[in-house]
Assembly symmetry: C2
Homo-oligomer: 324 residues x 2
């Protein structure tokens, strides 16, 4: 078995070898650029890790891992357009560096390349894996749509929010690990349990992201503390604080959210004060830990040696209990 | 065997049955709208026709036919964004009726739905068909990129132009028919020949489109005569006329193309006059007929009964020799 760092090195080298600049240059060059600016390669690495954990060979997982990474980057390229984001991972986004049309079409072709690589997996598993992939890809689009819908909705329930992050973030992590398990010749039941494990892990991961936006050490998170607050982004923390404010006939939060004349810093501080008033951090942490618990529960049921399970237990700490 | 009209009825009913409005509504409703505004359903009908010609059952071809139609509509939705087109088939385009983000994301999910339906084909043929599909889908994106590149290039060769329309238009027609043949249990060799037939047919079809833009009866074509000329679109006719003008040191055409003060009508008439000077219509017709000839030649080699070949011969007249 390789460590996550070793897997990342192997995968990155495979990605570079396969992501060849072809003609027409204006179609492929933007993707080469975007794939080079990096990222943690989390999804492909988890896919390969799952293959290895079930005793499969690394090489058997590489093509599917690349397919998942291509798909993920396709969603980032199009999401950046939809969010009008000028920067991603410290680099100019494709629609900003090139133009809108390039971002659309380069994204499109990257998604089709994902399909092409998926078809390179062990033929015995192709149909099974492909069905997981299409269902997941559809869900990710649905998650993105809900996310955009929420921007225009004044009230979003906690359940709707959790469902959105499940679709937008968790299912792709879960699908990556399930596909990896299948390619490692895991039994159907174990592959399903690994999916449940990773799905809950993904939700916990995203809730932690919401928490870190408010309470993370700035340099570790790599973004401004309170960025979500400044944008009125409906995170679990804001949704909970709005609910509590309503129950307590407390209009302070709603007044702050509507106040366009205060500075970003004043806004962040004022919202954090209300979060404190309702123990919002603690609430979000408990919610997060509920999903961590569900992930651990699924993990326990998987038919794997303890030393393999330990790797997956450590993964939870690595992904969720990070960067305070 | 069904007639093309019967096939269209069967397919349209299948499309309506399968294209269900699901949640989130903002994601799926635009696609339902776009798929309802119609079109000739040419690609799916040809796919089903190919299945039937080789003795396969209609039902065996429906899912793949829908996949191809979904993919085609996905390209139209994104192309309309890239071309800033306000109208398609007389109806408002998605980005105009809704907004840019909706056009991007609804298009994305439609392409994934195409994959989902492709996975419903006879499992024996799935991998083969899927490989044809991904290669074709990549080529279609490349064709769209070349088409956009040509807008910014002052000189485009005839070869480059033919390659662009092959990628943008012909390969999807060809893939549709090849997939249909495979689903109809055709031999590999016959499926390949049908691909060659349809690829040449597709190129001839597009050249005929270029010709009709200048010389078609307005009501039959359904668009303004000379629309391509007004937009300085590099069609085969314009490319040829530019070549001829250069060879004859004739600067009239270049002057007209750069003249921004003449009316659309004056421009169309002036360019058509130059086309006449160099027998451009005849040249394009001969070029078209060369591809028709190649299509017929491939057709001859296919191992099929004469009455089946007659249907494919008639298809050439129906698609290419139309609407003068």
């Amino acid at each position: 078995m390789h460590s996550i760092e070793e897997i990342r090195t192997i995968f990155t080298s495979y990605l570079q070898q396969e992501t060849i600049l072809r003609e027409p240059k204006n179609l492929y060059e933007p993707n080469t650029y975007f794939l080079q600016i990096g990222g943690k390669r989390l999804r492909p690495c988890l896919l390969i890790l799952a293959t290895e954990i079930f005793g499969g060979k690394t090489e058997e997982a590489l093509a599917a891992a690349l397919a998942i990474e291509y798909f993920h980057n396709f969603t980032l390229i199009h999401d950046d357009v939809m969010d009008k984001a000028p920067v991603r991972r410290g680099f100019t986004t494709i629609h900003e560096k090139y133009n809108l049309n390039t971002a659309i079409l380069s994204g499109d072709v990257l998604m089709i390349k994902a399909c092409e690589y998926l078809a390179k997996v062990n033929p015995i598993y192709f149909k099974t894996i492909f069905d997981i992939y299409t269902q997941t890809a559809i869900e990710v689009c649905e998650g993105q749509q809900y996310d955009m819908d929420f921007e225009n909705e004044s009230i979003v329930s906690q359940d709707a929010y959790i469902e959105m992050i499940r679709l937008k973030t968790a299912v792709l992590l879960a699908a990556a690990m399930k596909i990896g398990a299948i390619l490692g010749h895991a039994k159907q039941e174990d592959a399903d349990l690994l999916y449940t494990y990773a799905e809950n892990l993904g939700i916990a991961f995203q809730i932690q992201d919401d928490i870190l936006d408010c309470y993370g050490a700035e340099n570790l998170v790599g973004k401004q503390v309170g960025g979500d607050i400044i944008q009125n982004k409906k995170t679990l923390l804001l949704i909970y604080a709005i609910e509590q404010s309503k129950q307590n006939n407390d209009s302070t939060l709603s007044a702050i959210l509507q106040n366009k004349s205060i500075s970003d810093k004043e806004k962040v501080n004022a919202v954090l004060e209300i979060y404190d008033r309702y123990n919002t951090q603690k609430y979000a942490e408990e919610k997060r830990d509920k999903y961590v618990f569900d992930a651990q529960e699924a993990l326990q049921k998987i038919n794997l040696a303890d030393n393999k399970k330990d790797i997956l237990k450590q993964l939870i700490s690595y992904l969720v209990m990070r960067a305070y």
